[in-house]
Amino acid sequence: MDLLLQHVINAVSLGGTYALLSLGLAIVFSIIGLINFAHGELMTAAGYTIFFMLAAGVSLPLAIVFAIVAVAILAMGIERVAFRPMRKADMTGLLITSFAMSMILQAFFQNAIGARPRAVAMPEALSGVVNLGSVHLGIIPLMSISITVVALVALNLFLKHTVMGITMRAAAEDIDVVRLLGLKAGRVVATSFAVSGVLAATAAFLWVAQRGSVDPLMGFVPVLKAFVATIVGGLGSLTGAVAGGMLLGIVEVLAQVVLPPSMVEFRDAFVLGFVILLLLVRPQGLLPAPTGRRS
């Protein structure tokens, strides 16, 4: 029984991290129609920021806040330098730009910091377990779930109750009309990147806390999975991104648990096989964004 609970906690914790990452991808996609493949490098940048801050003796909460702010600024910088000049380019041009940005940042991390993984010294307190009778729950997955919930609630409040949040939802449906109303589209796009940076940095902390190290390619695999999760959820739909991320985390933990030991190394193949089956049944994803934005 307690083993089951542990698996559930692990699944929700991993799913939550994927959900934060896929939300970041989906928010930018919903507004400019671009999958930002440099999203993984935002995550890596946040990982290194936390690593260096902790190494310098800064407290963990301060290191996290600093990483979030720094990566939000980095995300806006990438938008400004790489994507805004390409505004009139077609989809292929934007995709190539985003891949290029991703590779430039990877090369930067490899050359400036080094290719080998760096151990991140998390505070002792995080490695403990909570004992509830016979049930032992890791502090890190519990913390992951709490942070994910707080981030999702905060994002929801932002999108529903601030003018900028409402404008972002409007821009996802019809950015030209947003401009017609005198609202600055450039600022909306920049904010969507900042929000994606905040989400990437939050996810990076959860990822690093779980794994204890950071390396130049850290963001690649989780963001690839988050990309799959946005497709599963329905590209451009924010609730879909959360659902897709959660589902992927759950399926992944489930595969880890039920596959015989000799096959665990093929876990991702099983997970992706499941995704393919799902998309055969629901090609539009679980909770697609409304289509036909224009009559």
């Binding site: 401009r179 109303l181 609202l183």
Partner: protein, 238 residues
């Protein structure tokens, strides 16, 4: 004796790749009038309004209150008092009526009190008050048109560009839309009205412009156009 025009357009040209949708048209809109812009499907009416709003790139001179605004983007033109209610209404379907209205006024807080403006809109369009917390996508076509116009008016514009406001609406709703346009014009709002329903538009307009293949085929007083049998036969057959 004629006042200087609110909008003065000279040699306006819009092209999409090889398609020349608007070919160097010139016209002006006097303050306080309704100018009807009519013409067949594909004549270039929407392209003209879109170019005036700043959404569609165009060449030529667009003077608003005597100042050339052709270099300004859509956001800036909205700030100057030009509002476009686009063809097909284009309300934000997943946003509520309240949120659609909020965004209409959000960029213009310095100009007037948005709360007072919202109350004004809700008394002008009582149906929007009833539907206030519903998603705009759930409204009927007529209600969406009212919302689209109210959203434009939230910026307190001086010039309203209306693109086919009666398109696809039931006859009694069409009547309401035309009554509304006259009423708004009565408050001093200058209106550039694009309509398929040409004779209805000419009945309420002061002046009119007939577009054909992106060029001005005719222009003059709306009553003269309405009275001329040749024009009726050629352009107002619908």
């Amino acid at each position: 004796m004629t006042a200087s025009p609110l909008l003065d357009v000279a040699g306006l040209n819009v092209r999409y790749g090889y398609v020349e949708a608007v070919r160097g048209i010139s016209f002006s809109v006097a303050p306080g009038e309704i100018l009807a812009l009519i013409g067949a499907n594909g004549a270039g009416k929407t392209s003209t309004l879109s170019a005036l709003s700043g959404l569609t790139p165009a060449t030529g001179r667009i003077a608003y209150r005597g100042t050339d605004i052709s270099g300004l983007g859509a956001e800036k033109r909205s700030g100057l008092g030009i509002a476009l209610t686009p063809e097909g209404r284009r309300v934000f379907p997943s946003l509520t009526v309240a949120e659609n209205l909020l965004l209409g006024g959000a960029a213009h807080k310095g100009k007037h009190d948005p709360a007072a403006k919202r109350e004004e809109m809700l008394s002008l369009f009582p149906i929007l008050k009833e539907r206030y917390h519903q998603r705009a996508g759930l409204l009927s076509g007529g209600e969406q048109q009212m919302l689209a116009i109210a959203r434009s008016l939230m910026s307190a514009p001086d010039l309203l560009l209306l693109d086919e406001p009666s398109l696809g609406l039931a006859p009694q709703i069409v009547d309401q839309v035309f009554e509304l346009i006259v009423k708004l014009n009565g408050t001093g709002l200058t209106i550039l009205l694009v309509e398929q329903n040409a004779s209805r538009a000419l009945e309420i307009a002061h002046h009119a412009l007939v577009l054909a293949n992106g060029a001005v085929a005719l222009s003059g007083k709306a009553s003269d156009l309405l009275a001329s049998p040749d024009i009726r036969a050629a352009y107002l057959s619908a």
